[in-house]
Every structure is written in C-alpha cells, then in structure tokens.
C-alpha cells in the first residue's frame, strides 16, 4: 500500500492486527501542530516501503478508544505493529532516515517479518 490507510473502528483489525506485513500506525489529530511535521514523513515511508510496510493513520479524536487501548497519551505517536503486536513506539517527530532505521531494526529483530 503506497498511501496511508485511514483507520476506522470497522477496519482496524483487518488493516492492522491481521495484516501480513508490518504496519506503522500514526496517531494524530487535526489540532496537533507537531503531527503536521510527521505526516509527510510517514507518507514518504509508505511510498518507499510499498509492499513491505503498511502505513495507517488513526485520528485520536475519531477513535479515542483506540488511543486508550494502546496507551497513547501524547501525539504524534507512531506505533509499529508486527503480526498484530505493538513492537515499537516512537513519540514525536524524528527524521525520515532515522525513522526508517528504527522500523527496520524493530521489524528485522522479528525474523521473517519483512518479505
């Protein structure tokens, strides 16, 4: 998937916890200025990693229960899911190359996650 997926209450399980590829979930809100810095970074990651990493976006105002479930208290929070499990949490903006490195390290640590 080359563009981020908009997560709803209905599609979260299918798009994230049952996904066959790692999924980077961007927890964000319209009023959050730092989230606007992160958005183009995750969009670029979605393009760069098409087929190997899915990027999904959760609006915490639309889905507060999802933020609660994963204990997201501040945004932007990026959560990396591998085989349905949250394996890495990154809070705040980091540059794209560093984000890619951290994702590769976390996903690579779980062998066989990346195709």
């Amino acid at each position: 998937m080359a563009t981020p997926v908009h997560i709803t209450a209905e599609n979260f399980e299918a798009e994230v916890t049952r996904a066959t590829t790692p999924v980077l979930v961007d927890f964000w809100a319209a009023w959050c200025a730092p989230c606007r810095l992160v958005a183009p970074v995750v969009e670029a990651l979605a393009l760069d990693n098409a087929g190997t990493l899915k990027v999904a976006k959760v609006d915490v105002d639309e889905l507060p229960e999802l933020a609660d479930r994963y204990h997201v208290q501040s945004i932007p929070t990026l959560a990396l899911f591998v085989r349905g499990q949250l394996v890495k949490r990154i809070i705040g903006y980091i540059p794209k190359t560093e984000l890619q490195r951290q994702i590769d390290a976390a996903a690579g640590a779980l062998s066989g996650d990346r195709e």
């Binding site: 200025a33 105002d61 208290q73 903006y93």
Partner: protein, 231 residues
C-alpha cells in the same frame, strides 16, 4: 516546540457567562436604568469598548471598561446612575451565582483527571472574588487574567500567557467559553476550544467550529470523558 502534545488537554475556563450567570444583574438594571434588558446592552457595550481598546490601545482594564460602558448606556437611556448605584451594579458583578451545571460539571471534569484553570478579562482580584463567592474556586489550579499581559481576549497574548505559565504548548490548552469571539481567539492562538451554548449565545459562521460544542458543562464532561450521558 516540544514536539509532542498531550491528548488530554488542560481546560481553560472563561468566567463571566460561561461559569457565572450575569442575569443576577437584571433587577439592578431594571431598578437603575428602567429596563432589565439594558443589562445585555451594557455587556455588549463592555465587549465593544474592550475590543476597541485591545485593537487600537491604550490598554484599559476590564473594570474601567465596565464603568465606561455604564456611562454609555446611561447616556443612551437618558438616565443618571448615581455613584452608589454604580457601586451596587459593579459590586454585584463580584457576587454572581454559578450556572446550575457549573459545580457538578466542573467536579466531574476534575474527578476525571483533567486539570482546570480559568482565564478571564476581569482582573485576578475580581475573578478570585467571583469564583470564591460562587463556590467554584477549589476546582481550579490557577486563576489567570488577561490583565497580566495588558491585552484582553480575544488577542492571542492572554492564551499564550497561560500556556507559558503552565509550561505547555497552546495546543495543550482547551478553552471553554460561551462566547464565539473567545473561541475564535483561542483557536487563532493555537488552542483547542469548546463552545458552551448558554442561552442567547451562538457561534457565527466565520468562527471555525471548535472540537466540542455542548449545551452545558455536563454535556461537555460527557464528551471529554467519553462517558455516556449522566443518569
């Protein structure tokens, strides 16, 4: 910029009309100016003078503005408000009753773990007296006044001052107000906002819709605390 924003905001409450009911002044306006409806005209005049001074200067505190507005309405209605009557009206402003939902709504918000402060155009002295009289003071960590930055809301400085004093980004603040101009000022300063639909208060089409719109503080608590309606 810290680079992250808490999802749970700090609630910043306006005081006059949002928490306190100005209608207690109606009998005084009827008595001294001949018509209870002049109270709303007076408060509109207060806002008009306050906005004019905020835009063009020089700064005048809210008490001086309230007095000047009283001068205008008494002249407009061909009345003369004696000094003791003036003191009666402005003194009563410090002894307003809270809206019926204020105590319970604030208690629910505070019990829900939210931090509460106030930001008013009145001076801190007046705001402290008002909140103490209304029995609401204990709900708030701080009582902030725009007077501290000598620019009244809806100029951005008062909202930014609150963020600075609390050591947070403006996006961490959620203004709660019954006035569209206050909501617009807060949003313009980078805060989030909630509009309380007190009687006669409506949002205008030019003000961005805030994240929360509620009929009273209980409904706001329902929305913010993500609970069902109170039983």
């Amino acid at each position: 910029m810290t680079g992250i924003v808490p999802i749970q905001p700090i609630l910043v409450f306006d005081v006059n009309e949002t928490l306190l009911d100005l209608s207690a002044l109606d009998p005084l306006f009827e008595r001294y100016l001949g018509d209870a409806r002049v109270r709303k005209e007076w408060f509109s005049q207060v806002l008009l003078i306050a906005f004019a001074h905020t835009i063009s200067g020089p700064y005048a505190d809210f008490g001086a503005v309230a007095n000047a507005a009283l001068d205008v309405v008494q002249a407009r209605h061909h009345r003369q408000v004696a000094d003791d009557a003036r003191s009666h009206i402005l003194g009563t402003l410090r002894r307003l009753s809270p809206h019926p939902d204020a105590e319970g709504g604030l208690r629910r918000l505070r019990d829900g773990g939210l931090r509460l402060v106030t930001l008013t155009n009145s001076t801190v002295q007046v705001a402290e007296a008002q909140l103490a009289h209304a029995g609401l003071r204990h709900h708030f960590e701080h009582v902030f006044s725009a007077d501290a930055v000598r620019r009244l809301k809806p100029a951005p400085e008062p909202y930014r001052m609150v963020a600075g004093e609390l050591g947070v980004e403006t996006a961490s603040l959620l203004l709660v107000a019954a006035h569209a101009w206050d909501v617009g000022g807060a949003l313009g300063a980078g805060c989030r906002a909630a509009f309380i639909q007190r009687p006669g208060q409506v949002l205008d089409a030019l003000t961005p819709t805030p994240a929360y719109v509620a009929t009273d503080l209980h409904e706001l608590a329902d929305q913010l605390l993500r609970q069902g309606p109170r039983s």
